[in-house]
Amino acid sequence: MNIYLLQIANGIGIGMLYFLLAVGLSIVFGLLRFVNFSHGAFFLLGAYLCFQLGQMGLNFWWSLLVAPFVVALFAWVVERFVLRHIYALPHHFHILFTVGLALVLQEAVISYWGPLGNNVSPPDVLQGVVMAGGFVYPKYRLFVIAFTAVMALLLWWILEGTRLGSIVRAGSESTEMVSLLGLNINRIFSLVFALGAFTAGLAGALAAPIRGVEPFMGVEALGIAFVVVVIGGLGSFSGALVGGILVGIVQSVMSTVWSEGAHLMIYIAMAAVMLLRPNGLLGRAS
């Protein structure tokens, strides 16, 4: 098979994970109007919890379920009791707060699990590779693609098809109007912040068998998530999907074309998108 086709296929695989990683950042921005710099730390936490639960003898599927919920719970508590009090402040305080939170989480992970990384092995059924013609692909990665696709549909349904989703989208336009309709927007804020953390935690748990766990994976994840949402459009669900897949493909194809520049290309792509379409590919004017 053509190497570029292989790379595109692989890029979609990477991109789906990027999507899951970025979508939470995007949703949170859409409603709360600030960039959550601790999103990467939630990813990190999800990965480590998945690892920890595995160590404690829980099987992978349970870990995959439990880890994100714990992360979401944590995020909910932070939002409910601390973060809420600084919404009214200028933008840089939100950044300061979430940067601080990210540092605390990362260092807490190091203190508890140590600075060395660890391996998380995929569940037995997903060990090994699938071969089709010249195409070799790890089963686990295929599972990740399928799983994130299902998650994407689920999230899409939550955001587009349910009353909660309507309220979230409404809140991203005007929080005041939502509360005028008798809905407690603060609860929605907490919920959305927790949902964002949930997706990040889930992405972390999913990524753990691919990447292993390592205390600095959060920082890297945050960088990628930024790029994805900026390319796709801040606050846009479909933007995160398109952005994620695009970044995955660029990265993958570039590793054949100009391998040492693969990382640089992502940022060049991001700057280009920002200059040509200031609100991202699918973003709406702020």
Binding site: R33, L89, F97, E107, V230, L275
Partner: protein, 329 residues
Amino acid sequence: MKHIVHFRFTLLAALVALLLPLCVSSGTLATEVLIYALAALGCNLLLGYTGLMSFGQGIFFGVGSYATGLALLHLKAPLLLSLLIAMLIGALVALLVGWFSIRQRGTYFVMLTLAFAQMFYFLAYTMKDVTGGDNGLLDIPRPSLSFFGQTLLPTSTSWQYYTFVAVLFVLVFWLLQRVVDSVLGRTLLAVRDNEARASAVGYDITLLKLAAFVISGAVTGLAGGLHAMMTGVAPLSNIEYHTSESILIMTVIGGTGNLFASVLGASFYVLVGNWLSSLWPRWLMLLGFLLIGVSLYMHKGLFGLAQSLLRKLQPGKNQSAAAAIKENH
């Protein structure tokens, strides 16, 4: 007597430069404080005076250290000339980054500067013939301050170099204070407060923001150059995202909208960071808690805290001091 008002913050800055050697036993640590104070000044000019939150200050810092390093290594340039080159390159790069970034506002502006920071990092990494790549530029000499072969001020020991940096620092502080008190500085405040109105009364806000960017780039470039001379290296980590982040954090911790606040912020960040890192390997956690604390409880930064403390100490007299400080906003 009336003129002292114009100089009061410069005098305070000079006081810091004088007192630092008494509080800090290491010349290089003290020098680093002043160097980062310069970088924070540049950042504050954008954040506090123009309302632009730049996540790309590390670009100018890094570019400044490369420029100085290259000038000293390849051109064998004298001390001041190589710093001048750092400022020029810093300003030039700021012009470029600013030109593209200021079309965006708010979060998008932040993200765009962040993207540029990453791009310049990878650019520096990729252009290893110029920048030394991951190894950075090594063996950067530190010439003495000389004039036609006459050595005015040697810089070989760390305290000698501190003296040079301190003089430069006070000078730059004074110049910048002059700038923010000037027509330009005061007009920038208008841009920060209300762009639409500033435009409606006749100002070209693009040009004004660019001017702020260029000045900020020059000052930050200078800081980068001084840092390269101090350490003898211009490493890749100077242009990293982390440098941008640290500079921004110092500025916010100090408090925005007053230049002296940045001096406080940088001193605090560098000294406390240095102290914490010697206490506990997980000192970044403490730093994280510190940032959370600042965002929750210290909205005016250290400077605001100092102001309110002063006011409490001397309720009567400091009314005027507070008013004087306010006038500066």
